[in-house]
């Protein structure tokens, strides 16, 4: 049995009541709606949600990469005693970005410089973050990092250009560059979406190894629940700029509470029965230019309660767990009993065998 729970719970990054807005052609869009989240050292947290749910925007606030029309209206992000929301200048961010919190992007085809050898690109990162390293030493370290991410013949490969590598190899290099900054937190934004299934499994394995080796904290952003099941210790399900359910991975997969989590899980083709219709979520996500009333998912939820349209649910702790909570009125003691859809039972796994 694999260890899921994180025993030492030291908070590395603490987000409180975060609100992020964007101004778009004179209108204001509320992309992140009062999110609070603690990230623990050494854990891997997966943030799941469909496109537009704000998962990328949320993590971009951690290293000051919000687009210029976006701003943090309220809330705090505490890292090492500093409040990152107070950072205004690029210079402030340079002490965080890369060296403390690094990022791996989705598409390895566009995140490397095509004109420089990969060795040079890794050296750049090393020299930027270690003032006392000579270029010679940096070169040697770069080769070590290339070997670290599982590329064979690292010395020869370090003199090659990005176009000489396949997609999976390039993603390994991007990860090597991120690792060369020696970060404490690594944010992976859809790290395997652009890759083949076979390669995907290898990259996820690599990230897991690196996490153990360097005691990294990893945040995965993804819409692929298969990836989540493979790598995450904890899962946060995002919908319309809010975390609607959060818990340890087994809790969220085997004992999901929020109707949106149910819907996401039941639409997986792995759970479909051949010849029958696959479960599909009706409608579209809410318009975030307008204030959302009640539970944001209610209009798409066939079993929504009356109160879902009126008042936003608070987080209810899931009975029997200290780590699992969900924003749904269904967990209120007064709520009627609603059974989760039968399709997600097919996921299997015995929740009680925790």
């Amino acid at each position: 049995m694999t260890e899921y729970a994180n025993t030492n719970k030291e908070v590395v990054l603490s987000i409180k009541d975060l609100v992020v807005k964007f101004s778009l052609r004179g209108r204001i869009l509320k992309a992140i709606r009062e999110i609070s989240l603690d990230l623990y050292r050494g854990e891997s947290l997966a943030i799941v949600g469909e496109s537009g749910s704000g998962k990328s925007v949320f993590t971009k606030t951690f290293n000051g990469m919000l687009d210029s029309n976006g701003f943090i209206e309220q809330g705090s992000i505490t890292y090492n005693g500093m409040d990152l929301t107070k950072f205004k200048k690029e210079k402030d961010w340079l002490q965080i970005r890369g060296g403390e919190i690094a990022m791996v992007f989705q598409d390895p085809m566009t995140s490397l410089n095509p004109l420089k050898t990969i060795g040079t690109q890794i050296c750049e990162a090393i020299l930027l973050h270690n003032k006392d390293v000579t270029p010679q030493q940096a070169k040697q370290k770069a080769v070590e990092y290339i070997a670290d991410v599982g590329i064979e013949e690292p010395l020869r490969r370090s003199n090659q250009f990005p176009h000489e590598f396949s997609g999976g190899m390039r993603q390994r290099i991007v990860i090597a560059i991120a690792m060369a900054c020696n970060p404490k937190i690594l944010i992976c934004d859809e790290p395997t979406t652009a890759l083949d299934v076979t390669i995907q499994a290898q990259i996820l394995g690599l990230l897991k190894d690196l996490k153990d080796k360097y005691n990294l904290t990893i945040v995965y952003i993804t819409h692929d629940l298969g990836v989540v099941a493979a790598v995450a210790d904890r899962v946060a399900v995002m919908y319309a700029g809010d975390i609607v359910e959060i818990g340890e991975v087994r809790e969220v997969f085997y004992n999901a509470q929020h109707p949106y989590t149910w819907a996401l899980l039941s639409s997986l083709p792995q759970l479909g029965v051949k010849g029958e219709k696959l479960f599909a979520i009706r409608g579209t996500p809410p318009n975030l230019f307008q204030e959302v009333r009640g539970d944001a998912f209610a209009p798409r939820n066939p079993n929504a309660l009356k109160i879902d349209f009126v008042e936003r649910p608070p987080y209810f702790p899931v009975p029997g767990s200290s780590t699992h909570k969900a924003r749904t009125w269904l967990l209120d003691p007064r709520a009627p009993k609603v059974e989760p859809p039968s399709a997600i039972k097919a996921i299997g796994g015995d929740y009680n065998a925790l």
Binding site: D196, L225, K274
Partner: protein, 306 residues
């Protein structure tokens, strides 16, 4: 699976080369398979395996360099008459991967959907054309009013529906769907899969479904061909392939399918395919029928292991 096995598409010994003679690259290497009327045939492989090239060769975007493709017994590759060419355009349609890139940003949905009609002059009056457009839009679950809008006004799932409407309006018999849902969100994927399945039922369509995501392929296809480096390595009915894979590459693909169950996912063993391990000059790979309807490119070593 239809009981009467009418062969709709017959691909025989097909090869496709890219580049000039001296520096040519063989993307598809002597591939043969048949697609029966009314079935969904899956073509699975990693990127660069040649699966898209096969689809594009059938629809005559890429020229073939060897072999034969027939549609209802009529040859459709190489030099063919104008009439046959028109017939191919009408009867075989394609749905592309990325709905963000495959629709012309500057034209309205009305034009995008009816472009095929225009190029074949497949309508008599303007009313008839508009009627066809609104019917196609309704068939894919969009409103006819949408025809006066531009693609950027739609979400990814709606755009993919427009792409499907554009194929349907030609009343095709055979649709090549090239990774039609890979670029879509999980929740929208289900909608598009359902739509494709429903259209198949109501119109008796035949699909060639090209994908790398085996979990989706298992859900919708009747038969699967696994392709690796331009060669088909295994071909069989979908469930047989999943239950009794023979070729080590198929096994590798199957072992990499992500499972939505954390317990399973954490105990899973990845199988990595190393072609060198099976290569033996005295033991060549032969395309053989291992059991009825289940073919694989094997040698003795692979068979012993399976």
């Amino acid at each position: 699976m239809p009981s009467d096995k009418d062969v709709l598409i017959d691909v025989n010994n097909l090869s496709v080369d890219f580049g000039s003679k001296r520096k040519s690259f063989r993307a598809v290497d002597k591939v043969s398979f048949q697609i029966y009327k009314g079935e969904t045939f899956g073509l699975v492989g990693e990127s660069g395996s040649g699966k898209t090239t096969i689809g594009r060769t059938i629809i005559r975007i890429n020229p073939s360099s060897e072999g034969e493709i027939t549609f209802k017994g009529e040859r459709i590759n190489g030099k063919i008459s104008k009439e046959t060419d028109k017939m191919v355009t009408r009867k075989i349609q394609m749905i592309f991967q990325d709905p963000m890139a495959s629709l012309n940003e500057r034209s309205k949905v009305d034009y995008i959907v009816s472009e095929g009609l225009y190029s074949l002059k497949n309508f008599k009056t303007e009313e008839e054309r508009m009627e066809k457009v609104s019917k196609a839009l309704r068939d894919v679950g969009l409103l006819p009013e949408f025809s006066s809008r531009f693609p950027h006004e739609f979400s990814g799932g709606q755009r993919q529906r427009i792409g499907i409407a554009r194929a349907l309006i030609m009343e095709p018999e055979f649709i090549i769907a090239d990774e039609p849902i890979s670029a879509l969100d999980v929740s929208i994927r289900a909608q598009v899969i359902n739509l494709l399945a429903e259209l198949q039922k109501t119109r008796g369509l035949t699909y060639l479904f090209i994908a790398h995501d085996l979990s989706v392929v298992r859900f919708i296809t009747d038969r699967i061909a696994v392709i690796h480096k331009g060669k088909i390595v295994e071909l069989s009915e979908t469930e047989t392939l999943f239950k009794k894979p023979i070729h080590p590459y198929t096994k590798a693909l199957l072992s990499a399918i992500p499972s939505p169950s954390p317990d399973e996912e954490r105990n899973k063993k990845l199988f990595i395919y190393t072609p060198e391990k099976y290569y033996d000059p005295g033991d060549p790979f032969v395309w053989s029928e291992v059991e009825p309807g289940h073919y694989a490119l094997v040698n003795k070593k692979i068979l012993n292991e399976a």
